[in-house]
Symmetry: D2
Subunit: 336 residues, 4 copies
């Protein structure tokens, strides 16, 4: 039985608590820590089967009984707590991104070296049924050699401006998922990134030094060209699609909606909008990623998304930012 | 906290155990009874949080601590155990059909009279996201007054011949769900049924006195015409669709599949088949029906599918059988 | 070069004039006759390349230069003019139905006997790209042996009440196309028909002794069950769909719409309604049916829809009417 | 009655001959000229209603009776013949591109100045039902202000290598249609182009100095970002899609296929591939563009695609080539 500690009991922390308590028989949550831990959250957590709650994450780090730590706290704490947990001999699941600073991620990589500890980074979309089916079709050779990879990723509405300011910018906050997806679908790394970006959704985002609309082109190592289009606001819902075109065909996926019901009337033929909220859209995927992490510990095998998989999209995000600022294609090698 | 006893730990019993243990905070399962209870099932149930397992369902009936009973045993036991449970003062959730014999269902109705006990029959499809969306569109007036209701319901493969023999026939075993759905979508009862049936899938089914293919037409009380088409074998998967056409439009739903991925290649443009297994297709619906039952107990309100809702589809099934045998339209009133 | 005479220059006559003038190099239209022939129509026809127009159809019958006659006049003239044309030694293309009276169709059959004249009846839908693809999939064995055939056929709006009164009723006017389609898709005849009908769209239709809503079940000779659903009013457009389910799969077709454009916005995900007008929906099919008729003459081969194919749907329509009146299944043999 | 001369009787010339002869009452084709005019083509043309055929295009230029000239000959003759025709006082419809050389297009523009002659360039896709519906949705404000425009344009198979060598390269030969489409959908010009290109389909194309795979990003004047993805080989057919995303929604279109038939069987749920051949895909659009050209002459109004609309995509194509060669974003202003 694996004993788990969870640091951060915000909405994503709660998703992981629920997943572990309802899906994973081989794990129990011993402690949940959150600096804002309150009565309501503590009661909820205990109802789910959590043994103990606290405001102090050090209790988790210092607890020799705890085998694995989930880091669901704010981004700036991801790499420092990763280091503490690794040094305390614990397996780590860390939400994305590990850090905005490449050197700090390299410290985590260095800390893991020589240990047998598992480290997984939280790119949940790889565990989504649609993306997974696209990737499997590519891996099974159904479309031949990939040549063009297209990823559409548009949020239903922009985050609050305070969040934008501390987010590290659209490329490290939002596109980072799509950078990971490009690697997942291509089966290789990117070598170069070019950004055509704009501030079209909310002037406040531009004033905060960020973009809200972007088309990002990437050269992939295997010769394919990948292109991501991002917007911070799609009024019709969370738009999450992908398409891989290759020498022998194409595989594409559509959005999920709440039901398949279609109404035909005098106005037209209307189906439901895509699911609006990312936690709803990816609920199943969040469950599968945590199951995969715990399974890697139990079976002592590599996690499906290692610390290196956490580093690469950060490099792509930094290259994208540089491309936007210098208005030119930027090689990933320039960042490393 | 509601204490639940579950009678029958076959596949549908296990689905309900899982639902209650993972979804419903206000209920615990005290006892699971099954005449074939074995080590494996007992261990699994305890791992899920069940307190006690037994081979003897009477332990549940006789346990004054148990508030509610789920009857998931074989069909012939549904009405007798319903009566026992009601007489012991317990709320009952009973899998469909309550009985093949109308008089026995009437005994259950009589037993409930004057009590405040809740009784719910297991027509899970009403809780499915797709059917629910169709019904809500109708109820919201989006298609005007219903005029034609079409239900397609085809199993992926025929059941074993032993099952067929004890099933009560296709109308009470399989179409019964569609009869309930016709009532749900029309918002009223049927008054007459006509069957065009055939034995096309497996001669053994015909030899057992049953059909495997049928088109069933119904006159609904509100003037609409409903039509169901059934087959015991759809090689492409579990085919579950519905369409309601009305004075101001139409609403229709499609099958669910595992993912939205579509492969375009030299062979064509191919998407995934419908989900094959009914437990997979309706897993979410099973969870929602149990939640609704327990919620009716907690809030002391009527269940969404009362014992009367259990009777009506049996009447329709018996009328359908009579229509097939006598090759003529049969009024529901002829059965009652 | 085939010389053609066209009797009836209403909207369907005009469609055939256009088709022959723009698609068929091996035929010219010598004469178009219509009792209501006016300046405008005459000018239009001559602009299309028609040599001569007249109010008198006898000019066509009596013209020894004319090889083939298209009968596009009112239904009551179809069989008398067919007889005149056949007796004058002319090939005949006749709009549906040949007659409401079986005996009169039999006279046409008798008149054709011993001649080498071609006769084709105008069931245009067999030439539609969608129905054709469904039929070809069935004929190619892609779905195994047909077991359930479903045809949806709903007009966008009811005809005027004067038309209804002279139409022969919904089964001979509207469903007759679907009866032909059932034969086409099943690859065999029907043996029995059962109707569940209603008057839901317009009370005036009921007062005229007709229905406007119906579900028609048929037993086909090859064991399959066919079901048609009809309505005289689908507010979302001309609803024309079909599905054939068989031992090894299913083939289905959807409606055509003006474009594939889909708008996703705050209201939902909306595509265009089906094409509204039958001449627009089947324009291409009308061209192909006339081409097929002329091709049969040129190559001296059987037409794709012989006079016998014109008789069968009339028998089905009469059986349907009888079924509705007597509220019981009616065998086709009862009509013959 | 407009008298038309057609220069070039290859496949696109034949499409225009057919369109004018079957669709346009107000025009006749007096002369068709082609240096390779042979018996077969001449006979076919006369059968369609063409008065005269010749090998010598000067006969058209010099014929004072001819009002309008369609230039369907090889690309290198487009601008010289345009000049000759304009100087002879004739309206001109010219296939794309007018020229690979901007100066030569400017000569055509200069020649038109001060005349009342109509000039239309052959970007047929603007007349396609799908693209038209997308553009109309944008123009009608259904998606708010355009922010991201996506165009997928993939040929079913690469042209012969001889064609590639004389084509002016992928950007002037193939992408030029997509450049026009980006202008059409955005409702404005591009200011900058960036190309990520590759030679993945056929090494011979690369050896000929050309690309066969490209993702082209454009900054549009109205702030929107446009992105085109091109391939010279899509094994599943001619892939022609577009999507416009905006502040209040999205509009997208799919490919056309031969029918809507879908086969569901043990292999999956399979619909038809997109139409393979561009003449089949755009047959209707070719008819509509010629009708629009002749209508502009008749009504003395501006053509929907003027000589300026012919220049802009050439500038974009030259910028794209420069971007590919210099591996940087290139402003359109650098080309002019």
């Amino acid at each position: 039985m694996i004993k788990v500690g969870i640091i951060g009991a915000g909405r994503i922390g709660k998703v992981h608590i629920t997943s572990i308590c309802t899906r994973v028989k081989e794990a129990v949550i011993k402690t949940v820590a959150d600096p804002y831990m309150n009565e309501e959250t503590a009661t909820w957590a205990k109802g789910m089967g959590v043994e103990h709650t606290t405001k102090e994450y050090k209790e988790i780090i210092d607890d020799p009984e705890i085998d694995a730590v989930l880091i669901c706290s704010s981004t700036d704490t991801h790499s420092p707590i990763s280091l503490e947990a690794i040094r305390a001999g614990k397996h780590v699941f860390c939400e994305k991104p590990i850090d905005h600073d490449v050197d700090k991620i390299k410290e985590v990589i260095a800390a893991l070296e020589g240990t047998r500890l598992k480290y997984q980074v939280g790119f949940n979309r790889r565990f989504d049924h649609n993306y997974e089916a696209v990737q499997q079709a590519v891996a099974a050779g159904k479309i031949g050699r990939p040549e063009i990879i297209k990823i559409t990723s548009r949020d239903p509405e922009p985050p609050g401006i305070d969040y934008v300011k501390s987010s590290g910018g659209i490329f490290l906050d939002m596109t980072i998922h799509d950078f990971d997806m490009a690697r997942f679908l291509a089966g290789c790394d990117a070598t170069e990134v070019y950004v055509q970006g704009a501030n079209l959704v909310d002037p406040a985002i531009g004033e905060a030094g960020d973009l809200d609309t972007a088309v990002i082109t990437m050269q992939m190592e295997n010769g394919a060209i990948a292109v991501i289009d991002n917007s911070r606001r799609a009024v019709y819902g969370y738009d999450q699609r992908a398409e891989v075109f290759g020498s022998e065909g194409m595989v594409a996926m559509e959005n999920d909606s709440q039901s398949s019901a279609v109404v035909s009337n005098a106005e037209g033929v209307t189906k439901e909008k895509p699911v609006f909220f990312f936690l709803e859209r990816y609920l199943e995927a969040y469950g599968k990623e945590i199951t995969a992490f715990l399974d890697a510990i139990i079976k002592d095998k590599e996690t499906p998304l290692t610390v290196a998989d956490g580093l690469k999209p950060v490099l792509m995000g930094l290259a994208a930012r540089k491309s936007y600022e210098e208005h030119r294609p930027v090689k990933i090698a320039e960042i490393m």
